[in-house]
Symmetry: C2
Subunit: 449 residues, 2 copies
């Protein structure tokens, strides 16, 4: 039992809206099988959350998302704050009722999107002032505002508003340190300063090509135009300290702790000392879960691995650990074995919309001419509406060539099911204490690059 | 029993791939309840066919279309001929297997789209030469080619390749009569010369605003830029004679009469004498069904009514009568009472994609601000996935404002269900010999404009 200011202890679980039950620990790694319970039901961990940025998992009805095996989805505070606005969602009965999804929902804090999508006006200790990417309206987002918006949306799990420094893996491109925006500085040049995770947002790159699991460093909107920085450690230190101060404010501002669980976020970039410092401070709060943020914002697999393997053990074992914005099958396997319980990523739906289908041996691009007369389904072992429904690669390719909506719909459904089946097998591997299942059935997760 | 050239009689029903069973006649009108049987099952008439232009009812899986009550769908020969090409569809096992719809399918002949979408190069007695709207490739479509393509696609009901003159209702704008395209003549100026029905094609106006049931003359792509014509009756005469000659060639070229039923099409514009002449000649063929073409290509309700009420009785009572490209609820009711059995229209899906929802009292535009906080569903009596699923107008409006795919999906589903429920009630009215059901439940169908 760890004492924290205010005398609340980690054991006071009944106080929390969200609770974690550890069911089984793996014998050969830190992987753990568990179950998280929220006011809208439970979900099994390790879990993968499909992303429904604007209160909709793109192209799919909630009953279909449910049928694909998803037990919890993520929605984006930034988008819903701008359109239609959280007061309207609250008035309509909250996010669950409004979007017709009565299972658990997690909302992020909005920080990541403020920096990747909006026109930042000012960043300071109080918060961030930015212009809406929709209509140019000047809006301020602070820890208090993020909490109020998330309280109004009503998700089961809400995230702290944090400051997310850039990855050390792209240290040479660096980031902007300033408080005021330099005159004439392009919007993108300020990317990479704040916000957690990557790829959580379905709409930041609507016209982008599908993401493929190849890259050297993967460039997110947060990092692709980052400007030089003199003192990376100083920036990490500032972000960490601010993350901790902002978490204090989030905890104080959170008005529905008995209905919504607030997760703290550990920052620190790729600086392991900074990660340790941040984890120590963030976990001082008796929160129902903790996240590793600022990962997969441009760095490669090895850097992600280093940070996750270092940070996950610093988080309490009896609270779910959430690795924000990750990712590909191999990343997930590594993180699960480091003790991570929750994941989210836009890959299934974003790539699905672009005609890129996940399979156990890797992604395929359906627009490729070689699929024109391919009478096989995407994955013979898959039971999704596309594969189980008998839609051939030939037909799916036609849908994409003809720009038929049904193409994105079916491949998004398939990709979501792909990740749900993958997590199902990961949970099975932990339960049976036998990872050969993953070796055998998911070569994409274990192959060398 | 009527003798036709070749000695085949109307009673030789067992020869046909498609048969019609008359179940009940209305006592106060020519409405009739029936059932059409095809190699892929039966459908109840009067029937409304959703349109799946490119082998997909836009945004919906075939199982969903089935669930909405559709028993037969329409697909477009022109589009599939160009992409992916009928040989590929044939190689993949035919349209039913390829698109995963194992119930009846009807394909049109391609004529309407050739004139509304392509760049016509030459029109002659043999057929039409045009440039593909996709890649500019020069393509010839003749009665024989249309039959071969439709034989390869493998629909249960295939349509004759016909010449469709413009409606007399827009006689003052007229049409181009020429055989060769005059140099420098804009593409649209040749519209309105040939092809049956209107609005069968989901893609001819992808960016169009939703169609509303108001208009004076409704302008289709075929008529909106028609040029002056000197002699409308002469054009109708030519089209009629050609339609009859081309039908002869279609009948001869049709290679799968035991697996696919060929429907003849009656043209004649708004000239009732021409309609009579055409009907007499077209029905000389022992075909399993007959269509009224060239209606709803720009003329108003009264003109459509005049033509349909005149022409339907000229078609054999023991074969299904199909009114191509119609239409709104009031048009359908009028035509059913004139003895029509089959309808198709893109309205449910095209308007659905544009945020226009059909209700028993008329269409509503969901983008209208007054729906922002409207917590009611589209139609309290509807059992579609949108209404039955509890999606409010507020949420649906949000989906359209945020350009989320789920908006078009849900409203298309609702609109298809709207028309299926409407036809269900029409069949009920005939069966119970009580039209007060329509008066009571479908005010949109009986209200004056």
């Amino acid at each position: 039992m760890v004492s924290v200011p205010g005398g609340i202890s980690y054991n006071a679980r009944l106080m929390h809206a969200v609770t974690y039950q550890l069911k089984q620990k793996d014998s050969e790694s830190s992987a753990q099988l568990g179950r998280v319970t929220t006011p809208h039901g439970s979900f099994d961990t390790p879990a993968f959350m499909p992303v429904g940025t604007q209160a909709s998992v793109k192209g799919l009805q909630p009953t279909q998302v449910d049928g694909l095996g998803a037990q919890i989805i993520l929605s984006n505070t930034y988008h819903l704050m701008l359109r239609p606005g959280s007061p309207l969602v609250k008035e309509m009965g909250g996010l669950h009722k409004w979007m017709r999804w009565d299972k658990p929902i997690l909302t992020d804090s909005g920080g990541f999107q403020v920096f990747s999508l909006s026109d930042i006006n000012r960043i300071g200790e109080d918060g961030v002032t930015f212009r809406s990417h929709l209509d140019g309206q000047l809006i301020e987002l602070t820890p208090e505002r993020s909490m109020r918006v998330q309280n109004e949306l009503g998700a089961d799990i809400i995230m702290a508003f944090d400051d997310c420094p850039p990855s050390g893996g792209i240290r040479d491109s660096g980031v902007w340190l300033g408080k005021e925006r330099p005159a004439g500085m392009p919007q993108e040049d300020r990317a990479g300063v704040l916000g957690s995770g990557s790829g959580q947002d379905e709409d930041d790159e609507p016209e982008s090509r599908p993401q493929t699991p190849d890259p050297g460093p993967r460039l997110s909107p947060m990092t692709r135009h980052a400007v030089a920085v003199e003192d990376y450690p100083a920036r990490v230190k500032l972000a960490n300290e601010r993350t901790v101060r902002w978490l204090d404010r989030c905890v104080k501002a959170h008005e529905r702790p008995d209905e919504q669980g607030l997760f703290g976020i550990v920052q620190g970039g790729t600086d392991l000392v900074a990660r340790t410092w941040c984890a120590q401070h963030v976990t001082q709060h008796d929160l129902p879960g903790f996240a590793i943020g600022g990962v997969a914002v441009g760095e490669g697999y090895d850097e992600i691995k280093k940070v996750v393997q270092h940070t996950a053990p610093l988080l309490p074992e009896d609270r779910p650990r959430y690795l924000m914005g990750v990712g590909y099958e191999r990343d997930i396997l590594m993180a699960v074995r480091a003790g991570v319980d929750m994941f989210d990523c836009v890959l299934p739906t974003r790539n699905g919309r672009n005609g890129c289908a996940f399979t156990p041996t890797g992604q395929i691009r359906l627009k490729n001419a070689r699929f024109a007369e391919d009478s096989s389904v995407l994955d013979e072992d898959c039971d999704c509406p596309a594969c189980g429904g008998g839609f051939t690669r030939s037909y799916l390719r036609h849908l994409f060539m003809a720009q038929e909506m049904l193409g994105p719909i079916l491949v998004s459904a398939h990709n979501i099911r792909h990740f749900q089946r993958y997590l199902l097998d990961i949970r099975r591997a932990i339960a049976q204490n036998d990872w050969s299942l993953i070796q055998r059935c998911w070569p994409v997760a274990v192959k060398r690059r």
